[in-house]
């Protein structure tokens, strides 16, 4: 019997496909998310919108809070570690939860090196803005990737940009002559073997979700139609007027992403969405997506 193999790490992400992973800050919110049909929850002290508003250094959440959220639900629980902070990752692994997000939403602990994720038994998800970044994270051991988007804005534009970049670059690789792939690897700053794999299969070797700015059922369905495998919703649910209803509506829209009649039905009378932020009004130093490399 072999535990924590690459197949089981990637496999858990496969089981989350077509689903919605929701940020929660209390056990009560975690239960609301599970009841609404979330496939997993992200246990946090503050959602990205509050991190953005309050400023300061954002760190791993209190292990006691993560453990209490874990006890409150039967679905998988994820938690965030700072980029490069492998001790936060060790602590989260010791709590026996299911996935770590090495996340740009927290303040990076290392401006050069991400965590060597191969060294862990727990699987990792990492953010990316383009294919090269996605493949570098996989080379470091990420078993799942997600777009960075721009967390805590309720504005889907950056998630769209990043998903289109990743998927468009995959299509370009597929069209290349095998002799061109060596240079493509150099340009993408990614390992040749991964570049060749993507060119041959037309897919990433791991599951690819959208994250960062998804606030409505139509946002979730947009990301699914663009071609991601599932969605993370951070601030968009519990910063809205009726979280339980909005959560369920986003779950339904993610399943029926190709059916505008169902998306229309679930979008009716959802109450107030979170107040969004236009990206060009955010001072450059406060953009989260630029963290990580």
């Amino acid at each position: 019997m072999d535990k924590s193999t690459w197949t089981t790490k990637v496999g858990l992400a496969q089981m989350l496909k077509g689903g919605v992973i929701m940020d929660v800050v209390t056990p009560e919110q975690a239960r609301i998310a599970e009841e609404a049909g979330a496939v997993a929850v992200m246990a946090l002290e503050r959602v990205p919108a509050d991190i953005r508003a309050q400023g300061g250094v954002a760190r791993m959440s209190d292990p006691e809070l993560i453990a209490r959220i874990k006890e409150s639900v039967t679905i998988p629980v994820m938690a965030k570690a700072r980029i490069g902070h492998f001790v936060e990752a060790q602590v989260i692994e010791s709590l026996g939860i299911d996935y770590i997000d090495e996340s740009e939403v927290l303040t990076p602990a290392d401006e050069e090196f991400h965590i060597n994720k191969h060294a862990f038994r727990i699987p990792f998800v990492c953010g990316c803005r383009n294919l090269g970044e996605a493949l570098r994270r996989m080379a470091e051991g990420a078993a799942m990737v997600r777009t960075k988007g721009e967390a805590g804005t309720g504005n889907v534009v950056e998630a769209v940009r990043h998903a289109r970049a990743v998927l468009g670059e995959i299509r370009r690789l597929q069209a290349m002559d095998p002799n061109e792939l060596f240079n493509a690897a150099k340009v993408l700053q990614a390992p040749y073997e991964l570049v060749r794999h993507v060119a041959e299969t037309g897919r990433l070797p791991v599951v690819n979700f959208a994250a960062g700015g998804i606030a409505t059922p139509a946002d979730a369905a947009l990301m699914m139609q663009i071609g991601v495998d599932g969605v993370f919703v951070g601030s968009g649910i519990f910063k809205s007027g009726d979280p339980a209803r909005r959560a369920r509506a986003i779950v339904e829209a993610t399943t029926h992403y190709n059916d505008p009649y169902i998306i229309a039905e679930v979008s009716k009378g959802l109450g107030e969405a979170m107040v969004g932020i236009n990206i060009d009004t955010i001072p450059a130093g406060q953009l989260m997506a630029g963290r990580g490399w």
Binding site: M1, D2, K3, S4, T5, T7, T8, G11, L12, Q14, M15, L16, K17, G18, G19, E34, E35, A36, G37, A38, V39, A40, T74, I75, P76, E93, G96, I97, D98, Y99, R121, I122, P123, V251, E252, T254, T255, H256, D259
Partner: protein, 189 residues
């Protein structure tokens, strides 16, 4: 023959790829009317609470029960196995189930993701030799009824595959491997 894969959530694509590989037509099933086009149905791996919730909201539970009662073969992998069971242990108390197989499914029977594993497994009457079985936050099956044939057990005796006539349940994921023998077997039911 057209094989449906319940496509509410989970590793739908892996089942579709496996089925196309063995040369059968496939159909994603999200709404009751989609069942009209299928001769068999697979419930994939995923989160059983999510899939169960969506089965209820989109009124799929009764139509699936009726088709299976009328002889449609059905197979559940992992979350799918949980949804086929008469009784769910360690789940949410309000968790919907299809309740088609006379067995109890114990959810997350091994613990968190850190306990997920692969093992070489004999599957009685389904594969010769062994299958490299992938268990991810997997359930176990308990208290099988008299009509239920146990198809596979772990070394400690725990039941991980069972069959009741044309209803098949596996706690592991053949669709995540290169071994299509369990899919081929399902097509013979």
């Amino acid at each position: 023959m057209t094989v449906g894969v319940l496509a509410l959530q989970g590793d739908v694509r892996e089942h579709l790829v496996m089925l196309r590989g063995v040369g059968v037509a496939v159909r994603e099933v999200r709404l009751p009317r989609h069942l009209d086009d299928v001769d068999r149905l697979i419930i994939p791996g995923g989160e059983s609470t999510t899939i169960g919730k969506l089965l209820g909201i989109y009124h799929l539970i009764e139509p699936i029960r009726q088709r299976v009662a009328a002889g449609m073969p059905i197979w559940g992998t992992c979350a799918g196995a949980i949804l086929l069971a008469k009784t769910i242990a360690d789940g949410r108390s309000d968790q919907p189930t299809l309740g088609l197989m006379d067995v109890t499914a114990r959810r997350n029977a091994f613990g968190s993701q850190l306990e997920s594993f692969e093992v070489d497994l004999a599957i009685d009457g389904i594969v010769a030799g062994t299958h490299r079985a992938v268990f991810i936050r997997a359930p176990l099956l308990e208290q099988p009824g008299a009509d239920v044939a146990v198809r596979a057990r772990l070394a400690d005796g725990a039941i991980v595959a069972a069959q009741q006539g044309h209803i098949l349940a596996t706690c592991f994921h053949p669709e995540l491997t290169d071994d299509d023998r369990v899919h081929r077997y399902f097509l013979t039911l």
